[in-house]
């Protein structure tokens, strides 16, 4: 019945403040809300606390732009299109951002706990690794685990034991409770119901753990149409604060059923941004020098976008060149 609040990309990005804790939909280089990521960088956001199940090209861009104060995750790279996040590495090596390492399961546990209103989540994953080395507690070493920041737990993790059944040793991993989750979704209803097609990655946990949620939709559709198959929907309207219709909003990452990862674009980014000077030049060309998402799409050009468009039955592009023989 109620229409959800519609807003522009620029307005939405303006709601997110320096220092806020944020997370995103998607997985590595899939379904990341790039239109918003570009806009946050364009608006010069600083000192962001990025907590995410895994990173990707967007993480590296934030690092390149000097937008990150803290990054808590398990991985940053570009999959096939760049062997590591060179800007993340450069900033981390220089001590210009704090990196808190967890494992992939740990990060899922963090968002699962947040999404369920729990302070921690138990797991057996990654026992016996340096992720748990007490000397490698980055936020603790920086004096940030004193309880004064509501987004930073007092412990990186805690040991736990159980004797309910076999005597057992496990971990408690603290909840993630980001201020914002920014989502790129295929379909959002006018009232805010979110449908994600294909793999859900860790979107449900990311969205439900956040205090506020902004959704960039490939298409905003009639609510009643989504509700004809409610088993396919992921999130009800009351988790969603703002909706923006942004087709191609995840480019250069891919969206199941809509478009392919733009591997050439990401590989070009990777090759050109290994130095700070390289990053600055690339960002001038593709972020700071571009006024809006519409201008960005125009700059990419229709034939590039069309080559990425998914085959409607296969759900991925059959036109994009992927290998040496295709």
């Amino acid at each position: 019945m109620t229409q959800q609040k519609r807003i522009s990309l620029k307005e939405a990005a303006g709601l997110i403040k320096d220092g806020d804790a944020i997370t995103f939909s998607g997985f590595t280089i899939w379904r990341r809300p790039f239109a918003m990521i570009y806009e946050l960088i364009r608006q010069g956001r600083k000192n962001l606390h990025l907590m995410e199940v895994n990173g990707g090209t967007h993480t590296d861009m934030f690092a390149g732009a000097g937008a990150l104060g803290i990054w808590e995750s398990c991985w940053a790279g570009h999959e096939l299109y760049g062997k590591l996040g060179a800007n993340v590495s450069r900033r981390a090596q220089a001590g210009e951002m704090l990196v808190e390492d967890y494992s992939h399961v740990h990060m899922v546990c963090r968002f699962a706990a947040g999404s369920m209103g729990l302070p921690y989540y138990p797991t057996y994953a990654s026992l016996g690794t340096d992720i748990l080395n007490p000397a490698y507690d980055t936020l603790g070493n920086a004096g940030l685990r004193d309880g004064s920041n509501p987004k930073i737990p007092r412990h990186k993790y805690l040991h736990a034991t159980s004797d309910f059944y076999e005597p057992s040793h496990l971990l408690h991993i603290p909840a993630a409770r980001p201020d914002w989750c920014i989502v790129q979704a295929q379909l959002v209803g006018e009232e805010g119901t979110i449908r994600i097609n294909g793999q859900k990655y860790s979107d449900e946990e990311a969205i439900k753990s956040a205090e506020r949620v902004i959704v960039l939709a490939e298409s905003v559709v009639p609510e009643s149409a989504l509700r004809q198959e409610p088993e396919r929907n992921l999130i009800p309207p009351y988790f969603v604060d703002y909706i923006i219709e942004v087709p191609w909003g995840a480019h250069p990452t891919g969206v199941y059923g809509n478009y392919e990862v733009d591997g050439k674009f990401i590989n070009d980014y990777y090759n050109r941004t290994k130095t700070q000077e390289g990053f600055d030049a690339w960002a001038q060309e593709w972020i700071y020098g571009v006024e809006s998402h519409e201008e960005y799409l125009a700059k990419l050009g229709i034939s590039r976008l069309e080559s990425l468009r998914a085959n409607p039955m296969l759900k991925y592009s059959t036109n994009v060149k992927r290998g040496s023989r295709s």
């Binding site: 981390a92 090596q93 991925y316």
Partner: protein, 266 residues
């Protein structure tokens, strides 16, 4: 399409074939991007038709008609049994459903501990920051067997890795950091561990003490070549001989059926 003459193969082909041979029929396999995908698809096309592949982004038993380029790829979904997300598949892993996993790493040590996080210290800052763990340590911790596929270089095969991202057979028990057998750390959740390491030069396995030894050398290499490319005291006395080279059928499957586009097999 392939420019290989009959009987000819590239190193990457041998790696894919050697990895595929680690798969038993009906194994439930966690596979990551790249060579692991070639290996599981080749195994399913040969001796393990009922092996099941789980991709950690959230697909179970997909039957892709086009090779995925990452585990998040839309191509993973095609004809899968269940498409869900990370929470589901990682919970299945912890539940004990995963028999085998293919993993990679930048550094490995004699206990099978693997580093994908940082070279040259860690805190306060590393000399070289790598990608980070991903699901490597989780999968390695909780699957019954794991197989690592790596590049053979002296600097990568170390006495002790700079940072233990992924747990081998002797690992730190925190908070003390004392190195103990994996069984002691995992207790009732101990299910096994690193079963093989496959490089461009050889296949390694682990003895009863959890120490790496040379199992086979690839055609064209000697145990001494391998010794020259590890920086610890490797046991070569158990070497069984030469790694079985790929068959023509395997090469044809790889180049014509599994990766006809030349994504990983250029």
């Amino acid at each position: 399409m392939t420019k290989l003459a009959p009987g000819e193969y590239k190193t990457i082909d041998l790696l894919a074939v050697a990895a595929a041979r680690e798969v038993n029929d009906r194994d439930i396999v966690f596979a990551g991007t790249g060579l692991p995908m070639l290996a599981i698809l080749l195994a399913q096309a040969t001796q393990a038709p009922d092996a099941v592949c789980i991709y950690e982004a959230g697909t179970v038993d997909g039957r892709p008609v086009h090779l995925p380029t990452s585990v998040g790829d839309a191509r993973c979904v095609y004809q899968s049994s269940v498409t869900s997300g990370l929470f589901d598949v990682f919970n299945q892993l912890q539940r004990g459903k995963v028999d085998l996993a293919f993993l990679g790493g930048a550094e490995i040590d004699q206990y099978g501990n693997v580093n994908t996080t940082a070279i040259g210290g860690y805190a306060p800052t590393p000399k070289l920051r790598l990608t980070g763990s991903g699901g490597n340590p989780d999968i390695n911790a909780l699957a019954k067997r794991t197989v690592f596929i790596m590049v053979q270089e002296k600097r990568r095969f170390k006495e002790r890795v700079d940072y233990i991202t992924s747990p081998g057979w002797r690992i730190p028990r925190w908070p003390s950091g004392e190195l103990v057998h994996k069984r002691e750390v995992y207790g009732d959740k101990f299910r096994g561990g690193v079963s093989a390491v496959i490089t461009d030069m050889a296949v390694f396995r682990f003895d009863e003490e959890g120490i790496m030894y040379l199992d086979t050398v690839h055609p064209g290499f000697t145990p001494e070549d391998v010794l020259n490319n590890v920086s610890f005291d490797l046991n070569i006395s158990r070497c069984r001989g030469v790694t079985e080279p790929p068959t023509q059928e395997e090469i044809d499957l790889l180049y014509h059926k599994i990766d006809p586009e030349g994504i990983f097999l250029k």
